[in-house]
Subunit: 245 residues, 2 copies
Amino acid sequence: MSKAQNIYDDPDFFDGYKKLRANRYSANNLEEKPALFSLSPDLHGKAVLDLGCGYGENCAEFQALGAVAVLGVDISEKMLAVATAKHPDIEFICADMSDLSFLSRKFDVVFSSLALHYIEDFGAFAKDVYGLLNDGGHFIFSQEHPLTTAPLGGASWTRDSEGQVLHYNLSDYARGGKRSTRWIVDGVEKYHRTFSEIVNALVDAGFTIEKMLEPVPTQETIERDKSWEKDLHKPNFLLIKAMKR
Amino acid sequence: MSKAQNIYDDPDFFDGYKKLRANRYSANNLEEKPALFSLSPDLHGKAVLDLGCGYGENCAEFQALGAVAVLGVDISEKMLAVATAKHPDIEFICADMSDLSFLSRKFDVVFSSLALHYIEDFGAFAKDVYGLLNDGGHFIFSQEHPLTTAPLGGASWTRDSEGQVLHYNLSDYARGGKRSTRWIVDGVEKYHRTFSEIVNALVDAGFTIEKMLEPVPTQETIERDKSWEKDLHKPNFLLIKAMKR
């Protein structure tokens, strides 16, 4: 498998990303994170792996929720430098998650937050994760919504003359594969997959799908800022909880 | 549960529908039907139920594939009159599939082709189907693609000045519920559900999801008629194969 792109060690990207994540009202904080944690089983006494852990924020929460062994893996040295400084009691490994063969121990829960759209071969990745789980263990992940990654030219909206969103410009949904888009910086490479490609790859790896979420903003969020209403036209995230029987 | 809409007994709809289905190059014949049959297990000796069987064409194919007991259920008397005349050796029952309590026998495979978007309460329906299946039995269905049913104002496309499709106008995807659209006649009522609503309803009913398909036209079909290329932007159908363990 080819070496994954490591955009997070690009200085411009890193600074932009830091600002984005610091925003309390980001889609991550209002939509993705609550949905991800809602899928978590009881973590008391559990061994947890976080693939694409970034700053290690989620790792720290898994530990606070009772996990006894938390390991964070990320490809970015810059991200892990922050993670290690903030959470010195958590173990972090700098590695490309598209090859997990360096891991010999097993886990009860494997999380991955917003990193899988960087993986080229999701089928091989799902099999790797399956192999890392104890029986009855869970793989819980979030990724960019397939409707977001679909358009070859990048996500865009059609608005009326007053700037109100009319619809999302959906194209190329059934054309799986590489997408090169601008996100903070130019040339961020992601992989688009349809719902059926994702579901079938999980099933083929041996997983049983337990829950799927496409979170939307709360009514309170929309009332505070009408611009969130567009997420009802096209959600930002897809989350899946799958079990190894 | 409220009585389902029976648009198929409207004379104008019935005539229009007959013409549509007679077209060899329809999306049903080129995309939906091959996908549906590709999901079928070996039917030899199997008891098969077809919900929303219409003209009974699929029932006849299930029988030809070895099924020993085939029952077709449809709400439309007009459709079943055609079905009975064409296939006198197959059993058909005229009934609203949103209440399946009239069925006391069990089945090995329950099929439903392009009818579930008429069901208001898919969760209750999935539980009903689960109860009708023998252990190890399959529920295999096709429905309009969730991206087709999403827009409150009906499906539409944006084209350039030469009529070439630029994108599908996606809106209201996360707003599940009733849709009133024009399809052959005005005021056809359907229900929109997101991928996650469909998947979670099946899982909650007890099903294990085995396969999901979003068929697209073959390269041959696109080369014969370029207008099929738009299905690569937004597929027409969603199919799921689910098992009762």
